[in-house]
């Protein structure tokens, strides 16, 4: 096993992106639920409640801190977590912040795996109260 976590890679830990603002539109919630095939009427109309995975749509426009493009042979999504104080609803304005919280390596059967954990926080712009959080874990595999 080779240590793939160079000084350049470990320096990514603590890197922050945002906050960036997201406006929650009922149409976007409807389209997202429709793509999943979720026909529950609570995801439709002016007072639509967002499905729990809706924050996957919160994508920053500029490049955000990540592994270098050519790092590893394969990039994969390892795990995902969402936690809520309350559901996200149409009309919300949310401040989204992303922080790289951890990078670590595991030795897999197929090669070395380097994991990156990103923590997201979702803050209600109007009240400054926390709506929820997310953890997004991706990995890069170095094939044997």
């Amino acid at each position: 096993m080779r240590n793939r976590i160079t000084a350049e890679i470990s320096s990514l830990v603590g890197k922050k992106y945002g906050p960036f603002k997201v406006f929650i539109e009922s149409g976007a919630i409807e389209k997202f639920a429709d793509a999943i095939g979720d026909e529950n009427p609570s995801h439709q109309g002016q007072n639509a409640i967002a499905p729990p995975t809706f924050p996957t749509t919160f994508r920053p426009k500029e490049p955000f801190p990540d592994f270098p493009e050519n790092y590893g042979d394969v990039g994969l999504h390892a795990s995902q977590t969402y936690e809520y104080k309350r559901p996200i609803v149409a009309g919300d304005k949310i401040d989204v912040t992303m922080t790289i919280s951890n990078i670590y390596q595991k030795d897999g059967k197929s090669g070395e795996l380097v994991f990156m954990e990103r923590d997201y926080s979702f803050i209600d712009s109007k009240t400054n109260k926390k709506i929820g959080s997310a953890k997004w874990v991706t990995l890069r595999r170095f094939n044997k």
Partner: protein, 133 residues
């Protein structure tokens, strides 16, 4: 509905994943990785078929949990992506309530949830905490 420990959640099978669904999900989520809609691109990367977004399978599990506990009742959902989901697959969601717990005097159910394909391979698995009252 009353929820209790060791209660098996009724399973739920989604319609087969279509290319239209993958294109819709790409547009709605903003994940435009061509592996999800460009056959030639997928084949060049050694895949025999288009693969679904991992997050789509998590979307299925979230929908499943909300169908049981209600929309807006999810306190926490965590999943691990175990293996790829291919176009045309029918995904079945199932789960079991492990315990009934309390947070700030409010009752919630802690459940194990999984999504499997027709061959019985688990594609996505995880945990959900849902307000039960």
């Amino acid at each position: 509905m009353k929820f209790q420990k060791n209660q098996v959640m009724p399973d739920y099978t989604k319609k087969a994943i279509t290319k239209v669904q993958l294109v819709k999900y790409a547009g709605a989520s903003g994940d435009f990785n061509p592996l999800h809609f460009d056959e030639e691109f997928a084949q060049k990367r050694g895949l025999k078929k288009l693969i679904a977004h991992g997050m789509l399978s998590m979307g299925f599990l979230s929908e499943y949990a909300e169908s049981i506990f209600g929309v807006g009742k999810i306190k926490k959902i965590h999943v691990n992506f175990k293996s790829m989901v291919f176009i045309g697959e029918e995904i079945t969601c199932y789960g079991i309530i492990n315990s009934i717990d309390f947070y700030n005097n409010r009752e919630f159910a802690s459940c194990s949830i999984e999504a499997k394909n027709k061959e019985g391979n688990i594609v996505t698995s995880g945990l959900v905490e849902a307000w039960s009252k």
